[in-house]
């Protein structure tokens, strides 16, 4: 990690009709740092990440990546910028019309124009890096378990050795042991590549393992941010309630009577 700011987000706002999802999100992410954004469902974690990736257009605010304002980029410039990113989706989002190796090599072939044979070799290397045998390369995604799909998704995210990797709920839907395996893999690949990482999760075990720094989002704002070792002494009642999973506290679930 160094002091260079890789991603700077200021005053990010996004609404869907009358529902305000992001209400002025601010944070900086240093190069090589692993930031985990925690928060309950519907608090704006995924929307924040989608705005950074350009998958959604923010209503207001600024997002700078390596000092370049990205909210005003043209479509072509944005696709070039996305070469810096890798992403592991919550449900892995593997292309079910392609075999596993083509999923992993997709960004290399389509995004970077690499020859198929060379991309296939790299894909098999990356599959090995996430603990999958070369035989898996020929299978279709539908033939894989949930844990294996996540690993293939991780291999795809790191295939082009991106500068920034985004992990969207990396352990959701996995058993605790497989979740820990995925966490270890994330820590390993982030350290090996020296990449900058943003993760969004509500899994505290995962957070403690993969984060250098944690930010909590609530009602569309970052309400607390600090290093992961200080999360148990945050002094913030919202964070306290969230990390201990208490029903009672300042965070109230919006439950309507039947």
């Amino acid at each position: 990690m160094n002091d260079k700011i890789k991603i700077a987000v200021r005053g990010l706002k996004k609404s869907f009709g009358p529902k305000v999802v992001l209400d002025g999100v601010d944070f900086d992410l240093q190069e090589g740092e692993s930031l985990v954004i925690i928060g309950g469902s519907g608090t704006g974690k995924s929307v924040t990440v989608k705005c950074i990736l350009g998958l959604m257009e923010p209503d207001a605010g600024s997002i700078k990546i390596d000092g370049v304002e990205v909210t005003t980029l043209s479509s072509g410039e944005r696709f070039k910028l996305l070469r810096k990113f890798g992403m592991l989706f919550q449900g892995a989002a593997l292309f079910d019309s392609l075999p596993v190796w083509e999923n992993v090599a997709f960004g290399l072939i389509q995004g970077h124009g690499m020859a198929r044979a060379k991309a296939r070799d790299i894909a098999i290397q990356k599959l090995a890096a996430v603990g999958l045998a070369p035989e898996v390369a020929k299978l279709s995604p539908a033939e894989l378990s949930g844990g294996m799909q996540k690993r293939v998704g991780l291999a795809r995210a790191i295939a082009a050795e991106p500068e920034i990797i985004v992990f969207d709920e990396p352990t959701t839907g996995l058993d605790p042991i497989m979740a820990d395996v995925i966490n270890d893999l994330i820590v390993k690949v982030v350290k090996d590549l020296g990449t900058t990482a943003i993760s969004i999760t509500h899994d505290m075990a995962s957070t403690r393992k993969i984060a250098d720094r944690v930010a909590m989002i609530y009602k569309g704002r970052i309400i607390w941010s600090d290093t992961v070792d200080r999360i148990d002494r945050s002094g913030n009642e919202f964070v306290e309630q969230f990390i201990h999973g208490r029903a009672d506290g300042p965070i109230r679930m919006e439950i309507r009577a039947l």
Binding site: K50, L53, G54, L55, S75, F79, K80, L82, R83, F85, G86, M87, F89, Q90, G91, A93, L94, F95, D96, S97, F106, G107, Q110, G111, H112, R156, V166
Partner: protein
């Protein structure tokens, strides 16, 4: 009263919003057809899916359409006899029934498949994954289908024309006892290049419409399996209606003089 006006206003704004979104999607999709990168491998795969694998259903439909047409023409226009039946079959099939029947069958088979495939990709984040892998979803998903639809349907319709005429010929000669050589001769004498060409031009437009509707509704589907199901229905229904609407407009244009 105000509530009523507000409802009407909301519906109107919703209509404008949908029309604008569809127009932008069409312009974006067509403009990417002329800008690199191109994906010839994907276009080839779509051509096989849309064209080759649609041959049985389109061929069978065309065959029975030609046969029914000959029977109906014989019973309905008994005064016309052999010459009239031959002319009705050949002109109806080449100008109208070949393109429209093939278009509707492909709308059901291919429009639904496109909407279901792209819709599933949308609700499972695969389209977002394409973007994060620096691949423009329009170029990768929409353009190959638009190009393949526009090329495949005229080829299918040409085959359908031949099979449909053959169906009419079969019924005319074996069931209605017309003289084969004179029946065929009348057909050939009365079909012009323009008749076939107008049908092929229509079918190219129908192929584009089927692919466009499938892509549009799939691309904008949301809400999981139910949303994908709805997208599939919309793709087939709107594709079929658009085919019939543009058929009328093009027929009026081609044959108004």
């Amino acid at each position: 009263m105000l509530d009523f006006l507000a409802s009407v206003g909301r519906i109107f704004i919703g209509f404008l919003d949908g029309t604008g979104r569809f127009a932008l999607f069409t312009v974006e999709g067509v403009s990417h057809c002329f800008r690199p990168p191109f994906y010839p491998r994907l276009i080839g795969r779509q051509l096989i899916d849309m064209g080759f694998y649609s041959l049985p259903v389109v061929g069978l439909t065309a065959l029975f359409t030609g046969m029914v047409l000959a029977l109906q023409a014989h019973t309905g226009f008994s005064f016309a006899a052999e010459t009239g039946v031959a002319i009705i079959v050949v002109l109806s099939v080449t100008r109208e029934l070949g393109p429209v029947i093939a278009g509707l069958m492909v709308a059901g088979r291919i429009g639904a498949a496109i909407a279901a495939e792209i819709g599933t990709m949308r609700v499972t984040d695969q389209i977002d994954a394409l973007s994060t892998l620096s691949t423009n979803p329009y170029k990768y998903l929409v353009v190959p289908r638009l190009i393949a639809g526009t090329i495949a349907l005229p080829c299918l319709v040409f085959v359908a024309d031949v099979i449909g005429i053959f169906g009419g010929f079969l019924v005319g000669t074996y069931s209605l006892d017309y003289n084969p050589s004179s029946f065929l001769g009348v057909m050939m004498d009365n079909v012009a290049t323009d008749d076939v060409a107008s049908g092929l031009v229509k079918s190219a437009v129908f192929g584009f419409i089927v692919a466009l509707m499938g892509c549009y509704h799939g691309y904008h589907s949301k809400g999981g399996a139910q949303g994908v199901g709805a997208a599939t229905t919309y793709a087939v229904v709107s594709g079929s209606i658009m085919i019939l609407l543009t058929d009328y407009l093009m027929t009026a244009l081609f044959f108004s003089s």
